[in-house]
């Protein structure tokens, strides 16, 4: 049974009467409250950001910013879904569409490989692409609606013809069985996925942030088998000024050493992510994990069932 009302509904209603800049200030305030009132969470993020700060004062500022921006991004998404699609590109800019077009010109679809950097922005980017006519479908590890509408939410949302985020992003459930992905690529569709997660049957370790860390091989393996191009994409900038930066596509060859080809492709993606992450270090959602990089290192050792769960 859906909930009656949520803070998100309140935010959407307020955003219709208050200037958006005020709403973002409120979101930042909410983030600051989380920073102050959740010390355990604050310490986790602080520990993770410590290597990137030059001193204690900068670390404090970066940590506070992490929580503020997180709340602003959440508000952005709520407002975005309530906004006229004609205005969507005022909220998020797309850069490098020619790279996506180049990948699609091969007729084998494309794998739009994003990350958890400003991750909520990925949904906005996908919605804009779909509005522009691109057949993007997002593969998700759970069949459940990501932001289920409350009863009040269903009443107040303007875009009631398509109220769910799953519908907006062409979301479909795929867990271990890649058949729906292969089918979509054969239709020259674009599959949206993240390349820095843990929902995978296999990993390979590549250089990342000064360590050798495991990244999933799933989508690279699909690309290698189907001849589809990988199109790395990062959501960069600080909310509410976000951009989707689409990078040059690359294929995953199958030479005499296909395993090495796979590993090289994963390393390429990790390099793009690292570059964009270092420019936007307070925007990576994974910093909420206890000792993020150590946690990433353990992913391949976790039971498969646990890794496939959300």
């Amino acid at each position: 049974m859906s909930r009656l009302v949520s803070l998100g509904d309140v935010a959407v209603l307020l955003s219709r009467v208050l200037p958006l800049s005020w709403m973002y200030r409120l979101a930042r305030l909410e983030g600051r409250l989380v920073y102050r009132l959740r010390p355990a969470r604050r310490r986790v993020v602080e520990r993770n950001l410590a290597p990137f700060a030059k001193d204690a004062s900068e670390l404090k500022e970066m940590t506070r910013k992490f929580f503020e921006l997180k709340q602003v991004r959440t508000l952005m998404m709520l407002v975005f879904m309530d906004t006229d699609p004609e205005e969507w590109e005022e909220h998020l800019e797309l850069e490098g569409l020619e790279h996506l077009d180049s990948a699609l010109s091969q007729g084998r679809g494309a794998i739009f490989l994003a990350s958890h950097l400003n991750s909520i922005g990925v949904f906005m980017a996908v919605m804009i692409l779909r509005k522009r006519g691109y057949d993007v479908r997002v593969a998700l590890p759970s069949p459940d609606e990501l932001f289920p509408a409350t009863r009040l939410g269903k009443v107040v949302r303007r875009r009631s013809a398509s109220p769910t985020l799953m519908e907006h992003i062409g979301g479909f459930y795929v867990q271990f069985n890649v058949r729906p992905i292969i089918k979509a690529l054969a239709e020259n569709a674009i599959i949206g996925q993240t390349g820095d997660g843990w929902h995978s049957a296999a990993f390979t370790s590549v250089p990342f942030l000064g360590r050798s860390l495991p990244f999933t091989t799933g989508m690279m393996s699909v690309a290698q088998s189907t001849g589809t191009m990988i199109v790395p994409a990062s959501i960069v900038g600080e909310a509410p000024k976000l951009r989707c930066r689409i990078a040059s596509p690359f294929g995953v060859p199958k030479s005499a050493d296909p395993r090495a080809d796979l590993d090289e492709a994963v390393a390429k993606f990790a390099k793009v992510l690292e570059r964009d992450l270092l420019d936007n270090v307070v925007c990576w959602e994974h910093w909420l994990f206890e000792d993020t990089l150590d946690t990433m290192a353990t992913w391949p050792q976790r039971p498969l069932r646990e890794r496939l769960e959300l």
Binding site: N177, I182, A201, A202, G218, S221, L304
Partner: protein, 85 residues
């Protein structure tokens, strides 16, 4: 046709594996150990469907059915029994 023999031959010749498949026992983990991944399972399913004339539904493409070679053979045998072969 011996299902296990065909299966081993297919994995050895076609899938990107990290280990020599001859060193992998029938009951050894294929997925937990990362020997084959989701794409490998898809390719395997396509092979099994073509080779043995069975249909493996999306609901059956779950880790439990593909964790070991013994498990995969059992799945194919079940499908063949259902077909009455």
């Amino acid at each position: 046709m011996d299902i296990l023999v065909s299966l081993r031959a297919y994995i050895k010749d076609n899938l990107v594996v990290q280990t020599d498949i001859e060193d992998v026992g029938d009951g050894d983990s294929l997925l937990e150990s990362g020997i084959i991944d989701s794409m490998g399972v898809f390719q395997l399913v396509t092979f099994l469907e073509t080779q043995f004339g069975v249909e493996i539904d999306d609901e059956e493409m779950v880790p439990e059915n593909f964790e070991t070679m013994t498990g995969i053979v059992a799945l194919v045998n079940r499908k063949l029994e259902d077909k009455g072969t």
